[in-house]
Symmetry: C2
Subunit: 83 residues, 2 copies
């Protein structure tokens, strides 16, 4: 089994209303040092198989089709070593 982590982030320039709301809440709580905050997804995936190259290719395709919205989001796939 292969373990992968996928990081999905909004592309630079895309507005992040959720992040803005959290920044404002942080300021209300007294954390004025929070300048900017952007919220993405952190996905942990277990893949049946033992070919890392094939897994990486398929997981990238899956990310494009299902996990991220390629119009507004970037993603990065990372295989976990020693898993």
């Amino acid at each position: 089994m292969i373990k992968a982590r996928i990081y999905v982030t909004l592309k630079p320039g895309v507005l992040d209303p959720q992040g803005d709301a959290v920044r404002k809440s942080a300021h209300v709580l007294g954390y004025r040092q929070v300048e900017d905050i952007r919220i993405g997804k952190f996905i942990e995936l277990n893949w049946e198989g033992d070919d890392p190259a094939a897994a990486l290719e398929h997981i990238a395709k899956l990310s494009d089709q299902l996990l991220a919205n390629p119009v507004i989001e970037d993603y990065r796939v990372e295989l976990v070593e020693g898993a």
Copy 2:
């Protein structure tokens, strides 16, 4: 300015209906090798200041209060080197 990354994940044992739905959709798309998938948050935060120890302490508190739900979620704070 200090850059931090916060990874928020569901605690082990906490059900992840969103992850289950994505796993089923992956299977429908033909990615039968997806065994398990868990979806968390990946937060990028810019912190005004230049004391990494203080930033880490405050961001951990902020995570407890605002970014994660400590009852069902774990979080990990990472300061980005060289930022």
